[in-house]
Subunit: 130 residues, 2 copies
DNA sequence: TTTACTGCAAAGCATTTGCAGGGCG
DNA sequence: CGCCCTGCAAATGCTTTGCAGTAAA
């Protein structure tokens, strides 16, 4: 990685740390433009792709197809409404039976939950950045 | 719901049950076309939207922005590679410390995990299908 | 100079929407 | 007859890619 690329990525990492909430690529583009020197939208996408593969940010893809990024250190889960798309942050790191507790405390009707682990599979750890 | 609409939705529910694996809307469109009477792509999307709000199917949105649907009764989680996108099914319903176990048994480098509950928030339970 | 990165604009692709026609009550 | 649903095609919106120019080694 060159210093040039590293600079772009660090700007994004810092932004995500500062705002402390998930941002889409487009939002990152706007924020960087407002805060300091503009960074091209395509560059934002390319930097995010690298950061993702390095495990430096975590990504969640909304049902709209939009991906939102946040600091890797945040261990935050959500109650997501299928109708309006709102995501309520959940403090506990939940397990299966926690679902009932959440339903009553948030008055949220839970249909199902998804738990997904993200990282690199055996093959891709070798061929990283194909 | 009319009988006509109900028929479309039931065809999809049955298909997802039969194949017993996640399918995208486009795949559902192709499968239905091959198996029996064709169903328009827009209709597939509209039926899936209804099924989703009824809690009759569960949805996962891939990092590509593509949404995949499967039977609601399946309690299946995945190890998803950020590089190639492959999703390895995981049998256990995992908790936090399970992550280490998964890393060794699958030789998968886990960066983070997402746990998300899906359903209807308090407000949308009232205004269902806005 | 050689390689990697950036910005811009065009293309790609899943999904959504407008509208005209058809099914069903 | 009236309403909901369907199919088609166009539009939408996020993301990716081609390419020419630029920064860094």
């Amino acid at each position: 990685m060159t210093a040039q690329r590293n600079r772009s990525q660090q700007r994004i990492v810092k932004l995500l740390y500062d705002v402390n909430r998930p941002l889409s690529a487009q939002e990152i583009y706007v924020e960087l433009r407002q805060r300091e020197t503009p960074l091209g939208l395509a560059t934002v996408y390319r930097a995010l792709e690298s950061l993702k593969l390095e495990g430096a940010v975590q990504v969640r893809t909304l049902s709209t197809g939009e991906s939102i990024y946040e600091s890797i250190d945040r261990d935050q889960h959500y109650l997501t409404c299928l109708n309006c798309g709102a995501s309520l942050p959940v403090k506990d790191c939940p397990v299966h039976q926690l679902q009932e507790k959440l339903e009553t405390s948030y008055n949220f009707q839970v249909f199902y939950h998804n738990l997904e682990f993200f990282g690199l599979c055996e093959n891709c750890q070798a061929t990283h950045h194909i």
